[in-house]
């Protein structure tokens, strides 16, 4: 048997909750072609979960998989993908992944596993105990019904303070499509909590004293790690500071690099002032303050510190301390989060006293972080909040809810922008209580299915930012024109791809971005100025493909696609270049298997194509173009009537998008008419068996047209 390549823990753990039995497989031998992470997940789903399986069926599987680089000192390597038949995908649940950071990925690998495949269903609530290769199912009846915080505490009491617990809250227990799995306080994987709940698996506790072998030379490894650190920017790989700096030619007020010397972590004791060079390697953690980025200057005085995933120096989560939370709301003064989860509470309010960066906004966010991450509620990238506002403003709640239930909701608080409103609303959603809670906890599918609201009305409304299949846009044309549109058509939930947006929002002036784009994707025309889009061209298709493949690769390697790829850098001496081969260089050094950029990207393409195959199989249609790769109506409209390709609009042109999809399918070597991979496309990626199985059902064109 070949030795396990470096970087891998070596084993995949299978847990059959129906029988209580465990087994293991060799990671690389069994799953090596699909790298890990989402690739491993797709492989399991393809081979073992029958087409048409529902998310809460016993037949569905839940694949927690990290990647070869997780658990090492590679910066930004703390990610776990959780792949399953995704509950909120509507109207028919299809393959999808939630993603979470925190400590889970590293701890799982130190415990000896690269992945956990959860199968079957337990008769009674259980939690999974994993310590250094020793696994057990333990009774979770005393934990069931409780929040994630207490669950984590009690499991830690049983396992030890250094364990990492991934748990569901009440929302997941009640099979809410809007349920998360949370580890390490604020790291949540969206959408998959209900699958865990359906299997009666309350939590996974992982503890490990093992380690990972790095195949490559130690000095070489150290140099590459240091190189990676040197080309890091701040969160989302924004490579210029938000403030003019003597150390930078460029700045961008919209940058997430907000840690200006002179600012301080005001709630640290004593406060920690930011000093010194903004490029200092021992100051990387001070660059990002997500709370300050979203909530304004007030957040600094409440900042205790940054936090985040194992090995990542960026610390995109902010730990906040707001004393008013205890006195006003009886909640913990301390909360932590980033991005959407940080904004969970604030986004429910169309207006707040003091504005979006005032005290009420801060308090609303604190409530959201504390409650949503305890009950394990997902926001569907802010869609639950947008849906709520639309339904409330259009009188749908008033029309549809029974009068008693409607009257029981403190609407006056909502209209007044009183954060206390959330103390009533969030538990309704988490407990799926009443019609309101039940509908909202289903995501956009709730109003569609339960109240017969046509999806088309969401698709026509710019304010919803709804895209398709129950999910919103995620960095689409508002950020990146056709490239963003293409990316958003390809998945069965919101795309969760940041490869493209990290680049176009990195803060460099357009001419620098275009110069880099020319080197990376063949032409400066692969990138446009925001809101000043030009017509589709093959270079944009190239870039869209790159963005998707790299995202998939990151999800397979345990890397963070909210930071990577690292193709731009803050370094003037490098011409602001990053390194487009960083992933393959790390992969090769860690594993000892030499894969250059093209070869590793090919593996990523294989993984993404398997996702495509799964989608085709489970939709039972080859017409991806028509049935799946949809674009909502609002994308083709402008509220002020501006024309596509004029300055100052994100409006796309139907024909041009048609051409964009043509070019994308072409570059993927898929059939242009259907957007389905051909037999040849599968064969090129060593997916012959997949191609044949689909062809047998008439779901794989023989050749592209």
């Amino acid at each position: 048997m070949p030795a396990t390549p470096g970087g891998f823990a070596g084993k995949v753990l299978r847990v059959d909750l129906s029988t209580g039995k465990f087994s293991t497989q060799d990671t690389f031998e069994r799953y090596g072609e699909f790298l890990g992470g989402t690739g491993l997940g797709y492989q399991v789903l393809w081979e073992e979960v029958p087409a048409g399986a529902g998310p809460f069926d016993v037949a569905n599987k839940l694949v927690f998989a990290t990647g070869v680089l997780a658990g090492t000192s590679v910066p930004c390597s703390g990610r776990t993908a959780i792949t399953t038949i995704f509950p909120s995908c509507w109207p028919k649940a299809l393959v999808g992944s939630g993603h979470m950071g925190g400590q889970f990925a590293a701890k799982l690998k130190y415990a000896g596993y690269d992945a956990i495949i959860v199968e079957g269903r337990a008769e009674r609530p259980v939690w999974l105990f994993i310590r250094d290769g020793h696994v057990e199912l333990r009774d979770a009846s005393r934990l069931w019904g409780g929040g994630i915080r207490r669950t984590t505490l009690e499991i830690s009491q049983e396992m030890g303070a250094d364990c990492c617990v991934a748990a569901i809250g009440q929302a997941g227990e009640k099979l809410a499509p809007m349920a998360t799995v949370v580890n390490s306080m604020s790291h949540s994987a969206g959408g998959v909590g209900g699958v865990m709940g359906a299997k009666k698996l309350k939590a996974i506790g992982v503890q490990g004293s093992g380690g990972l072998r790095i195949a490559g030379d130690r000095e070489h490894w150290e140099r590459l790690v240091k190189f990676h650190l040197s080309i890091l920017g701040a969160n989302n790989q924004h490579v210029v500071p938000a403030f003019p700096s003597p150390e930078s030619e460029y700045y961008n007020p919209g940058s997430r690099w907000v840690g200006e010397p002179g600012k301080r972590w005001g709630a640290a004791q004593p406060p920690v002032e930011i000093t010194g060079s903004i490029h200092d390697m021992s100051r990387i953690s001070y660059r990002t303050n997500s709370a300050a980025y979203f909530l304004g200057e007030q957040a600094w005085k409440h900042t205790v510190r940054g936090n985040g995933c194992t090995s990542c120096p960026i610390r995109c989560h902010t730990t906040l301390k707001v004393p008013a939370m205890a006195t006003k709301y009886g909640l913990n003064e301390i909360a932590q989060g980033t991005c959407i989860a940080l904004n969970f509470g604030r986004f429910f309010f169309p207006a707040l006293p003091g504005g979006p960066k005032g005290q009420a906004a801060l308090e609303a966010c604190m409530i959201g972080m504390n409650m949503a991450d305890d009950m394990g509620i997902w926001s569907n990238y802010g869609q639950i909040q947008r849906d709520f506002i639309k339904l409330a403003n259009e009188g749908v709640f008033q029309a549809k809810l029974g009068s008693a239930e409607y009257a029981s909701v403190p609407w006056d608080k909502w209209r007044a922008g009183d954060p206390a409103f959330l103390l009533d609303l969030i538990p309704r959603i988490g407990e799926r209580r009443g019609e309101l809670g039940n509908v909202l906890s289903q995501g956009s599918a709730g109003p569609f299915d339960h109240w017969g609201i046509p999806e088309s009305s969401w698709e026509a409304d710019h304010a919803t930012t709804y895209w398709k299949m129950g999910h919103p846009k995620h960095h689409a044309n508002e950020d990146d024109g056709q490239c963003g549109v293409i990316i958003n058509t390809q998945y069965n939930r919101d795309a969760q791809c940041h490869s493209h947006t990290n680049f176009v929002r990195n803060g460099l002036p357009l001419h620098e971005q275009k110069r880099l784009a020319g080197e990376l994707w063949g032409s400066p025309d692969s990138v446009d100025a925001p809101g000043h889009y030009t017509r589709m061209n093959p270079y944009k298709a190239q870039r869209a493909k790159w963005a998707i493949i790299r995202k998939e690769l990151h999800d397979c390697l345990g890397l963070c696609n909210w930071m990577g790829p690292w193709v731009a850098s803050p370094l003037k001496e490098r011409g602001y270049r990053g390194d487009n081969s960083l992933e393959s260089r790390f992969y090769s050094l860690a594993t000892g298997r030499q894969l250059d950029r093209e070869m590793l990207d090919l593996a990523g393409e294989r993984v993404f194509t398997l996702h495509r195959a799964l989608t085709i199989r489970d939709m039972a249609t080859v017409d991806m173009r028509g049935a799946h790769d949809r674009v909502p109506r609002w994308v083709y409209e402008d509220p002020q009537g501006a024309q596509p390709f004029s300055q100052g609009t994100i409006r796309m042109d139907r024909e041009d998008i048609g051409l964009a999809m043509d070019m994308f399918y072409e570059i993927m070597r898929w059939d242009k008419a259907t957007g389905a991979p051909t037999r040849a496309a599968y064969a090129r990626l060593n997916l012959d068996a997949v191609g044949k199985a689909l062809a047998d059902k008439g779901l794989a064109p023989e050749s592209g047209k």
Binding site: F243, P244, S245, P246, Y250, E478, H511, Q647, G648
Partner: protein, 188 residues
Amino acid sequence: MNPGDTARLADAAGAAVRAASGELRLVDCEAVLEALASGGQFGESEPAAREAARALLPGLLAGHPALAALESRTGRTLYYAPDLLSRTYARILDRKGSPLLLMAEEIRLNSRDYPRPVPVELFQASPFGLASEDIARALAAMAADPEYRDISSATTATGAVYLFSTRHLERGYAVFLAQRAESADMNP
């Protein structure tokens, strides 16, 4: 002055410029001369040595491999160490004496290079450090002055004010970009 002395003078001048750059100051020849004198560079033969240095300094500073020069708004040549001060920052420092020029040039550069309008609050923050009254006064003065006819403002739906130059940005696009910047935090 012999070559050895000249070389030493060049080194000392470079060090003086570097020291100033480290303190976020741009310096002209006179200021360098002053710094050298108070550092005891010229010793006892001060007046003569100083005059000799005055004649040589422009050439030495211009040719110094570790220094950069910029033409000040006042017409003088100013020197700085580019590894300690970016050109962008140096140019901001140069304009600090004149709020109008400070703001207008920055607005124009942003409109031309990125391109984007800038939030008015930018000029309150470091390194601009203008009080809101000064900003208001400067904007009013610009509105009345043909030299600054291109400086314009756009107000977003939420009432945020962004400034741009019509030389480089069309109003409609500036409004769009301002709106986009204001709503970036709603697009995480």
